[in-house]
């Protein structure tokens, strides 16, 4: 059972073909199952041993044993390197837990010299892990200039190690003006920013902002598998990197969840953008790599 086997037709752009083949594959699967035991079948997730979970079941501020905050508009006051327009706070107006979901709210308000406020939570220095399955159940905001993300950064080996050398895994990000497109990526030295190894997955007859979806990765030595709900839509391996580029995903990574407003990736909100916008997070769960896959 090779979990790295991502058939070529698992391409988002050929979804129509995929459904047909999937149906075919399913019937094959049944036959195979009858025939003998486990075989070469598509499995979305393999790791089931929980190492961390936050179900956001306690109203109020997020659990400080798990979550810290990035505050402000970046250490260089440049919108976190992306010309993002929001000022991040830890105020309940921007992040709170209510009725079993964490709510990150992006607001249009003048605050500390910025025109918008929002929140970015991170598990840096509180929780990090090498390999495993990282998933969250999220309903994203929508509208021009909204940039929600569920992602990870590598723990620095030393204070001098900086992005992109630390590595970045984007489990879920999307542009509010493209409500049907999910983007999953990895960034490292020689393949960061606009050159990241990335894949878009387009929802068919559905969109990201109208309901909860499960966004996750399964990550092991030499691979990162991106999935959404019950669809594994991409696998990234060292072979996908530019020639000579280094695979920087064999050490501890921590989790970030945020809603950015504006910036180079999405452009600014406009008069059509509805504020406030909310991202709802039902849970974040992390499972350990079982070494078998």
């Amino acid at each position: 059972m090779k979990k790295k086997l991502i058939p070529q037709w698992y391409s988002a752009s050929e979804w129509r073909t995929l459904s047909i083949i999937k149906g075919f594959l399913l019937s094959t699967l049944f036959i195979t199952t009858f025939g003998c035991a486990v075989d070469d079948t598509q499995t979305v997730t393999n790791f089931t041993q929980l190492t961390m979970q936050d179900e956001f079941d306690t109203d109020g501020a997020p659990n400080s044993n798990i979550w810290g905050y990035d505050i402000g508009n970046g250490p260089n006051e440049d919108g976190w390197g992306n010309q993002e327009l929001q000022y991040y706070t830890d105020r309940p107006e921007n992040v709170t837990i209510n009725n079993g979901v964490m709510i990150i709210t992006a607001r249009e308000e003048s605050f500390q010299g910025s025109e918008y406020t929002s929140a970015r939570l991170l598990t840096k220095d509180k929780f990090s892990q090498t390999y495993g399955r990282f998933e969250a159940r999220i309903r994203v905001p929508y509208g021009q200039g909204m940039w929600p993300a569920f992602w990870m950064l590598g723990v620095q080996d030393s204070p001098s190690e900086i992005w992109p050398f630390i590595g970045e895994i984007d489990i879920m990000e999307m542009r509010g003006q493209d409500p049907t497109k999910l983007i999953g990526s990895v960034h490292g030295p020689g393949y960061s920013g606009g050159e990241a190894i990335s894949k878009e997955y387009v929802f068919q007859n559905d969109r990201l902002d109208t309901g909860f979806h499960i966004y996750g990765i399964e990550w092991g030595p030499d691979y990162v598998n991106h999935y959404v709900d019950d669809v594994l839509y991409n696998q990234i391996t060292p072979e996908d990197l530019p020639e000579g580029a280094e695979w920087v995903f064999d050490n501890d990574f921590y989790i970030l969840i945020n809603v950015a407003v504006g910036g180079t990736f999405v452009g600014s909100p406009n008069t059509e953008t509805v504020f406030p916008q909310t991202m709802l997070v039902d849970y974040v769960r992390v499972y350990e790599y079982n070494g078998l896959n």
Binding site: Y142, Q144, P179, T180, R207, T210, E272, V274
Partner: protein
Amino acid sequence: MKNTKRKYLKFTLLLGLIFAVSVSCEREVSDEVDFARFTNSPDVYIDGFSGGLEYLPFGGSKLDAFSVDGEVKYKGTNSMRFDVPNFGDPGGSFAGAIFPDYGGRDLSGYDALTFWAKATKAATINEIGFGQDFGENKYLVTKNNLRISTTWTKYVIPIPDPSKLTAENGMFWYAEGPENGDGYTFWIDELKYEKLGTVAQPRPAIFGGEDLEAEAFIGIEGLIPREGLTQTFNLASGINETVIAAPSYFTFSSSNVDVVRVSELGVLSPVGLGSTEITATLGGVKAEGSALLQVSGGFEFAPVPTRNAADVISIFSDAYTNVPVDNYNGFFGGQTTIGGAIEIIEGVENIIVYENLNFVATSFTNPTVDASGMTFLHVDIRTEETIDSGDSIILELIDFGPDSAFGGGDDTGGGITFTSGDLESGTWISLDIPLENFTNNTGGGLGGFANGAKANVAQVVFASGGISTIFVDNIYFYSE
């Protein structure tokens, strides 16, 4: 149009029959229930008319504006071609039609009407949508000012609340006039209903999304303005698409039904004293916008004229037979004034309401009025606004002269100004003005009316200094 109306009536009759049959066969097997169900066929026009579809152009439109084009098409063998006429086309001044299926369709499983379109030039289609059937138009949806380009593009017109459309007749309609006087051609193809699954984030609105405050009067019904009833969806393209939705998509409510009742068609009926808030939902989503209505009593109408009809030439009065009037608001260039004649009590009381008044004319040119035997103009005017010292209202009369047409060098005009001392707020002011008192030059620069022939009077003009809203009633000439 008459034909189709009759057809619609026939249809309702048929429905009645079906119901009657259903009732009488109540104990029959459930197969009979299926009989009353409507087809959910999504196609309107793919490569030809879908089953049941008809083409019914609007009266006054270019009747042959629509044709089937086998040359230009997005897909398949042909497309719908629409030829918008040039200004002055004897065949019709605009292109417009409805495409109904009077068999009725169940569209509740879809979330949008979609089509591909292109045009010979970038243009803006005035109105396009569905739900128009030359009948009740109960679930009318209108997309105003749809921009189209010279390349095939897919357009999505969302359904405000699909659950309402279980027996819809109006599959598609459009109306488009010349652009800057010029006609052009546009094509539509692959016209159908779809369940896109990406029509999301509904944001309905009433009163244009504004929170209004207004006064209402017992016994005088009002209508929630149609153009302010909208539904907005965010589409897969990221665009917020807004359409005008008929009142029946909304569920209106009044916070105090002992003050104002509101019907499902958006008719507001003041029934008692007090205040109430009018709000609405659409598909379970609260609509943005509201109206806080104050009812402090009944509406006071202008005094009923008592002059003998034989001595009167009436322009606007419920007490007399009026001469033919072209319009109560010509919407001239430079004019900010909106409003015109409104029916306050059906068939009994009409008044003119002008809002945002700078100047406005009531015109009666077909034919003009021979007031040469008349000596006075009577007008009742009312404003609810506080009268400030500099405020004024100006009345003007325009005579088109022997040619009975505007211009031609024979026009005369005259005006008279009523300053703050002549005016009073919150009551009807009855003005009886000798025609020889219209001595000032008009705002348009005309003079000579007071001593002129007055044989071809064509316009009464109201102009304001500092007063925004006036009510006008009982405009008539009389002799004494």
